[in-house]
């Protein structure tokens, strides 16, 4: 170990003092130009009256935040962001666990099933969302067609999946779940295979049935990896605007608007850059809390 690190030092720092700086530069540039820059710009805009097509700029203090907090669509967006994020994670955790248990066993065609389950994650998010838009479409919906064919609904009276506020919320939530399930399944599957086989076997001999083994032995043992899956899922869903934008564009009547989609709608489409920036800043404290927990889990995993 000592020899290894000494050698590493001589290659990295000793031979060329610029090498380490050169190695760091791309990462530092990326963070400065594409993360820190826009972020600082957003902070700047949030305290100004910036609008697209208006060259003048005035400092307005907390005016933007005040007007946002008073707008009903912002409150709906916060509520939706929380519903979509937490609701879809609940669906994801339950389904991903079930899938991971099913995929743990060997059976014919397991490879194909694993591939199919992973597809939603591999495919571009916009492509998947467009697929769902057609599936849930008011006229061409496959689901409606099937329900009509099965005589659950009369022709042309099937529900408008994306047209009624409650159904639209449920639809967006489920598409979000569909999007994150593969990722969580893969993580949970890895967590499951990392558990030595004789531990569930010992539980079986000790007298535990399937549910007790799962809930008292296997799932508690997977807690670190489970929290990684949940935190990633929370962040993916919380910051995503593609699904909402493509499926409903925030409608009907702003009932499915989320913080990112509202920021986009007001700031870019509505030309009110200042309002959009202020809304996106509301994401920051929430994401900081999530990031804190992620780092803590990562550190604990390192220690143990």
């Amino acid at each position: 170990m000592a020899i290894g690190s000494a050698r590493f030092k001589s290659v990295g720092a000793g031979q060329s003092p610029f090498l380490s700086a050169a190695m760091f530069a791309p990462a530092a540039l990326y963070i400065l130009l594409l993360v820190a820059g826009p972020f600082l710009l957003a902070v700047f805009y949030a305290f100004s009256d910036a609008r697209i097509g208006n060259a003048e700029l005035h400092f307005v203090g907390l005016e933007n935040f005040r007007s946002i907090l008073q707008s009903p669509s912002f409150r709906v967006a916060i509520r939706n962001s929380i519903i979509f994020t937490i609701g879809s994670q609940l669906v994801v955790i339950v389904s991903a666990n079930i899938l991971a248990i099913a995929l743990e066993n060997t059976f014919r065609g397991r490879g194909l099933v694993r591939f199919l389950i992973l597809l939603p994650w591999v495919a571009p998010i916009s492509l998947g969302a467009i697929g769902w838009k057609w599936i849930l479409d008011s006229i061409y919906s496959v689901i409606s067609w099937t329900l009509v064919a099965l005589h659950f609904f009369k022709p042309f009276s099937a529900p408008m999946w994306l047209g009624e506020p409650h159904l639209a919320i449920a639809s967006v939530l489920l598409v979000h779940s569909w999007r994150v399930i593969p990722f969580s399944t893969v993580i949970l599957l890895a967590g499951r295979t990392a558990i030595p086989k004789d531990i569930p076997e010992a539980a079986a001999v000790d007298g535990a049935g399937f549910w007790r083994t799962q809930f008292q032995i296997v799932i508690p043992m997977m807690r670190p990896i489970l929290s990684v899956a949940v935190l990633f899922g929370l962040i993916f869903t919380f910051t995503d605007m593609t699904v909402v934008y493509i499926l409903t564009a925030g409608g009907p009547f702003d009932s499915t608007q989320t913080l990112p989609s509202l920021a986009f709608a007001l700031g870019i489409q509505g030309s009110d850059l200042a309002a959009g920036a202020a809304i996106s800043l509301f994401l920051v404290p929430l994401l900081v809390i999530l990031a804190y927990f992620m780092l803590r889990i990562a550190r604990r995993a390192e220690v143990s």
Binding site: D198, A202, V205, D206, A208, R223
Partner: protein
């Protein structure tokens, strides 16, 4: 307490291949400590796992306490198992590990503490109950695994190489502890090992297995002194029994019976022995070499001696084998056959 019995028990993992366990039939005695002994791949662990219910037999029957248990899940077989890795639940304290079988078997909660403390005190781990498994030493983990196994007072104990993860020094004391533990609880136990010393030291009887087939079932004295075939003869004993082909028979003699002629009285077979290598092991010498002259010329043999001061490398010495210690095996079947008179020279 109960007796474990198998009838023609067979396990085939891959169709068309040889069974991992082939038509194994045996019966334990009440309260006995039975050892499954065999090299790796002999099927001893598979056999144990079938008895535990963790592996489904391809054919044959398993009876525990006279009851056919083939279709019972592990939890309904009244068995407890100690795994090679101990398989402690890492997220639970020692107390909760030991209490888990009670919880799983729906033993009333108010009895838990008393039973856990009884099991813990039996194994001397009363002070460790609040610790997590990762804070324990190898020997302590083993005791926790045993306590978890004993706490629900099973009819049968199954132990899968529980000592193989311990270092050599700890293994001897852990072995002694296991023996004392078995004497005090008296539960029928089946113990799997590849270590013949463990098997000889601990077993009331030993079931010798190789390639899924039972070679012999007997007390340590029986399997050592009267091996049923050449496999048992060479697997037990270190160094193994000398086997030399002599016409239509294989003759076997233990290294400790192959001695310089001066030390031996009674009827013996004289052999000229050329020393090829000598190992000093403290309390004894292992001398290997070749036999010189006669029908056994250039056959390899090993001798175990208390002292070998008078021997030298490449020297040829007069050795003898007492006739009463000779074993005879059939070259075709490898089975033991009755003693017979043979021409040595």
């Amino acid at each position: 307490m109960a007796v474990v019995e198998t009838r023609n028990l067979t396990k085939v993992f891959k169709e068309g291949h040889l069974g991992a366990v082939n038509r194994v039939s045996f019966e334990t005695r009440e309260g006995e400590f039975l050892v499954f002994l065999g090299p790796s791949g002999s099927g001893k662990t598979t056999l144990l796992r079938m008895i535990a219910g963790l592996e489904i037999p391809t054919s044959g029957e398993i009876l525990i306490g006279g009851q056919l248990v083939n279709d019972l899940s592990p939890r309904d077989r009244r068995i407890a198992m100690v795994f090679q890795s101990y398989a402690l639940y890492p997220h639970l304290s020692v107390y909760k590990n030991i209490a888990f079988p009670l919880k799983a078997q729906n033993v009333p909660r108010e009895q838990h503490r008393k039973k856990v403390e009884w099991a813990a005190s039996l194994l001397g781990i009363g002070a460790l109950l609040e610790r997590k498994p990762r804070e324990l030493s190898g020997g302590e983990r083993q005791r926790v695994a045993l306590a978890r196994a004993i706490v629900r007072e099973p009819a049968v104990f199954l132990l899968d190489e529980p000592l193989s993860n311990l270092d050599a020094k700890l293994r001897a004391s852990a072995r002694e502890e296991l023996e004392r533990f078995h004497r005090s609880v008296g539960t029928t136990s089946i113990y799997v090992t590849h270590d013949q010393v463990e098997a000889m030291a601990m077993g009331d009887r030993i079931l010798v297995l190789n390639k899924g087939v039972v070679h012999q079932l007997g007390t340590p004295t029986e399997v050592y002194d009267n091996p049923a075939d050449t496999f048992v003869a060479t697997f037990l004993g270190s160094p193994p029994m000398n086997l030399v082909g002599l016409g239509d028979v294989i003759v076997g003699f233990r290294p400790e019976h192959f001695l310089p002629s001066v030390n031996v009285t009674g009827e013996t077979i004289p052999l000229q022995f050329k020393v090829g290598n000598m190992e000093y092991l403290g309390s004894e010498w292992i001398v290997s070499g070749t036999i010189v002259g006669g029908k056994l010329d250039s056959k390899k043999a090993v001798s175990r001696l208390a002292s070998a001061q008078h021997l030298g490398l490449d020297g040829v010495y007069d050795f003898v084998v007492p006739v009463r210690t000779l074993k005879f095996f059939d070259p075709a079947t490898q089975q033991r056959v009755p003693p017979r008179d043979i021409q040595w020279q």
